[in-house]
Amino acid sequence: MRALEAAKLVAHGRGGLALGPVDVNVLPGEVLVVVGATGSGKSLLLAALAGLAPSTVAHDLSVGMVFQSAALDDACSAFENVARATRARRVPAPDEAARTALVSVGLGDALATLPRQLSGGMRRRVAIARALAVAPELLLLDDPTAGLDPRTTREVLALALPSGPQAPPTVIVTHDVDEVVPRADRVLVLSAGRQCFLGAASLLASEPALACYAPRRGTDDVHAEAW
């Protein structure tokens, strides 16, 4: 696994939105959480890292991404949504990889189901399965818990955030500070397209202007939860 190195990143989005310069260096197995107000450039940062928006990013890592809206093709089944990605990315035994990924997120019974027939949480799981099935070298998650109940939020995060040194570098954008930030190694706070904090989550509470991004519960609480 390689690290993500994107120093002094500058990007341009739709409607004149500009981002940067921002430093996004993430080691393998590390989770970087990006927080900030609506319109601060969080989603633009992910789009830039994924190569979907014009930017100065020049990494050659293969990317897996979970979009905020799940971004599934409603015209084909959950399995086909994942299998098309594994086939296009030339994953060895692509259909088997897709099936395994869907089973691993608990959707073994919904392989033939159309995405529009699934609940919001299940659609998000299909999207996670697709992102993980292509064995990405960089994992990007755009607000994967938006609109989910607390139990589903925890299940989705457990599936989407791989752990250990062999896990890919992961960047996650979120508004769910309490659930996501305790699982992060570092936090990046954006404001109006600018980087205004980058460091350990524990340091957020000491910055009065950024205290709103500090979780109300600690890492130990999160890890102690029974799933």
């Binding site: 979907l52 809206s69 098309r84 296009a88």
Partner: protein, 243 residues
């Protein structure tokens, strides 16, 4: 704007090499464009033909006392003028709105971005099959429309004037150049509807409202484009035939 034009350009390039498109996707789009449009094309072309045949027959009888010459004129009008135009407007309203709504939904839910990210080439898999199906389908529907036009004329004359329907049956009036013009108009209409639907669909941002707006814009753009195209080709056609 430039991203939209680039996507449209990518889809058009992919459509030009249509034999490399996924056959399943192309067949599915052809099925959406041709068989499902046939009833509407038949109804609209026949209704317009019926109205025109009736008026032509009555005016001819009133002014000249003779209906025998309107058959060849009616058939030429169906091949070169109203057949392709009505098919173009039908495609604009039926398929243009549907394709624009589908592209807008895919765009506003980031599905096209996701497809691009996972290497699925949305221009080749989603957009180009729509374009090829629209161009081929428009030509096929033009031929279906012409048959409906002719039958509507014959039926109208028989029912209204009790004149032999064969007054309208003049296959010799169909000229090769007229058929080429019809095919050209239909193909151009397919391309215009595709461009309008893709351009409006790719501009969609922000959910249901954006999808509704995209479908509306696509219909307006396609109707306008087809009317202008028809008038422009008619002028070129007239000038080309003028001594």
């Amino acid at each position: 704007m430039s991203a939209r034009v680039a996507s449209l350009g990518g889809a058009s390039r992919a459509a030009l090499t249509w034999w490399r498109l996924p056959p399943g996707a192309l067949l599915q789009r052809l099925d959406e464009v041709v068989p499902r449009s046939v009833p509407l094309v038949i109804v609209t072309v026949a209704a317009v033909g019926c109205a025109l045949a009736d008026q032509a027959a009555r005016q001819a009888l009133r002014l000249l006392g003779d209906q025998s010459f309107i058959g060849p004129e009616y058939i030429v009008l169906g091949v070169e003028e109203f057949g392709p135009l009505v098919v173009a407007l039908t495609l604009s309203l039926r398929v243009g709105a549907g394709f624009a709504a589908e592209i807008a939904t895919l765009q506003s839910e980031s599905t096209l971005d996701a497809m691009a990210l996972f290497g699925q080439e949305p221009a080749r898999r989603v957009l180009a099959p729509m374009g090829v199906a629209l161009v081929l389908g428009a030509v096929a529907l033009g031929l279906v429309g012409f048959v409906a036009w002719e039958l509507a004329g014959m039926a109208t004359l028989l029912l209204r004037s009790e004149v032999s329907p064969f007054t309208f049956f003049h296959p010799e009036a169909v000229r090769g150049a007229g058929v080429v013009l019809m095919i050209l108009k239909c193909a151009a209409a397919g391309a215009i509807v595709f461009a309008a639907a893709t351009h409006a669909g790719l501009a969609a941002r922000g959910g249901a409202v954006a999808v509704g707006e995209a479908a509306t814009k696509a219909v307006v753009g396609a109707v306008l484009g087809c009317l202008i195209m028809s008038a422009a080709l008619d002028m070129l056609w007239f000038l080309a035939r003028s001594p």
